[in-house]
Symmetry: C2
Subunit: 112 residues, 2 copies
DNA sequence: TCGATATTTTAATAGTTATCGAATCATTGG
DNA sequence: CCAATGATTCGATAACTATTAAAATATCGA
């Protein structure tokens, strides 16, 4: 993932309603959630919700599909993973992540 | 980690120079890097760098300590981990993360 | 204490982003 | 085709963010 894309993703998530929407989508899984449902759950007018969803889509964090009259949004897990990987890349100079403060919740810690 | 703090952290990272600075700090580890060195590496005037570092600090993503005339910044790994945990919380409704698209690069996947 | 070095604060300006009503577009059922 | 429903686009306004020169602050060595 290149810096430019990462910045778009971070900017997209750095907003109250978009962060909340994205988390709902992450929790919803493949199935996704319709734009209107998100607007209602987050108590945001449809036009505002649409604006925010467009930003998430532009950042590549969500995908959309039409289903009858509704447009269903889903989280793009690959993009989310790419984002996190970028932040932790080469953590601690690539060496075993200092004894006291782990670089990651638990994953790719290299040695002991 | 609460939403408000997460948004501050994401906003802080969603900027070219701050993202670059944070990554340098993540890679530098506990040792940290001086403000002036960051400014030089990133080709940013000192006052701009200072502005950006203040935002990272305000977001809780970095800590600072004085060492003689220099101010040394270091990444706060705990904050970074908290951030990532927040994004993936309850991923896929808490269930095993769909077969095709993992929620995380490898860590807390719950079952098979 | 003075001058040099390292950094931050201030302040003005330019640019970007959020908000949401109204208008528009797309789909469906009758 | 028409009315209803679900969603997006437009447009105006308000609020926030980045940038950087210049001034201020802190530390050090002589």
């Amino acid at each position: 993932m290149q810096a430019d894309r990462v910045i778009r993703a971070l900017s997209a998530l750095a907003q109250e309603h978009r962060l909340a929407a994205f988390r709902l989508l992450v929790q919803a899984g493949e199935q996704g959630v319709a734009a209107g449902v998100l607007a209602e759950k987050l108590q945001v007018p449809p036009s505002s919700m649409s604006f925010h969803l467009a930003q998430l889509a532009n950042a590549g964090l969500v995908t959309q599909r039409r289903e009858s009259r509704s447009i269903i949004y889903s989280a793009d897990y690959a993009a989310m993973n790419g984002l996190m990987g970028y932040l932790t890349e080469n953590c601690c100079g690539g060496m075993s992540c200092s004894e006291d403060a782990a670089c990651l919740p638990s994953p790719q810690r290299k040695s002991a």
